[in-house]
């Protein structure tokens, strides 16, 4: 009986992980892939669970660009010094489900005529 209670508690904890959002997986992002162009205000950082970057769009909104985990981002050719701050980039990805959160989970970054595919397996989603 007591063991059953413990298993139940464990099962609930595990089950609550299924509707997972945000950083891990794509569940917290919309399905549609859109493009976002802007000026890099904070360069690529390859630290933490995901690579990150910030860009400012023409309407002066600053977006958090979530890249792949650091090793994967780097192996896609995107290193911390690849894109200087102030450069113009286009990012293809899926924006956060929360319209108030200016965050995009990235599939591809275009810069200087090159394409950095951090999630090449999802390239066919880009129109």
């Amino acid at each position: 009986m007591r063991l059953n209670t413990i298993w139940l508690a464990t099962a609930i904890s595990v089950a609550s992980a299924i509707p997972a959002f945000a950083h891990h997986g794509w569940g917290g992002n919309v399905d549609e892939v859109t493009a976002l162009s802007g000026v890099v205000t904070e360069g690529v950082k390859l630290a933490g669970p995901h690579g990150t970057m910030k860009i400012m769009t023409a309407d002066h909104m600053v977006w958090d660009i979530t890249l792949a985990p650091p090793p994967r981002t780097q192996s896609a050719g995107l290193k911390q010094d690849t894109i200087p701050v102030g450069s113009v980039v286009t990012v293809h990805g899926q924006r956060n489900r929360d319209p108030n959160r200016l965050e995009m989970k990235t599939i591809q970054v275009e810069y200087g005529g090159k394409q950095y595919n951090v999630y090449p397996e999802f390239l066919d989603k880009i129109k």
Binding site: R2, A9, T10, S13, A20, A22, H23, G48, P71, T73
Partner: protein, 163 residues
């Protein structure tokens, strides 16, 4: 000092810099070590707490309590140090994360429970003699509380990345 200020300080600390400036694999390796620490901690705690709750009562408590408390202490130390590193990497990003606000205080409660167990007369007595029924019940209650706290803090901790 607000929590946001504390996180800004942690992010700017030497630990934060070490975490960010040492290659693309460091975070993953520290994350792995954190999991090993948590596994060592919880693996030990679950054996001890279930014993306190009455499982395997044919095994002497003193024989179980010595290795489990030692390994739980080591596991907690590893988890705490690596956890501070993981948090320091981008500490300000976690401001407002409800799971962190559950996890940290519950770890505090779990540690307070550890203190209460170790200060109890029943715990001190178990090393030298058999416990009375009432002493066993008191330890069982604290063992159950321990399981609840550690399960809650681990669950909340796992969910931090999903917010």
């Amino acid at each position: 000092m607000s929590f946001a200020q504390l996180m800004a300080w942690l992010e700017g600390s030497a630990l934060g810099h070490v975490m960010r400036d040492n290659g693309v694999w460091l975070y993953g390796i520290i994350n792995l070590t954190h999991i090993l620490g948590v596994a060592t901690l919880f693996g030990s705690v679950v054996i001890l707490d279930l014993r306190l709750l009455g499982f395997w009562s044919d095994a002497p408590l003193a024989a179980i309590s010595r290795p489990t408390t030692r390994m739980a202490t080591i596991g907690f130390g590893i988890a705490a140090i690596t956890g501070a590193g993981l948090l320091a990497t981008k500490a300000t990003e976690y401001v407002g994360n409800p799971f962190l606000y559950i996890k940290i205080p519950v770890i505090g409660l779990a540690l307070l429970n550890v203190l209460l167990v170790h200060r109890s007369s029943a715990w001190r007595a178990h090393k030298n003699r058999d416990l009375t029924h009432q002493e066993r019940r008191r330890l069982a209650a604290m063992g159950g509380t321990s399981l609840l706290f550690w399960l809650t803090s681990i669950s909340a901790g796992r969910m931090i990345g999903y917010w």
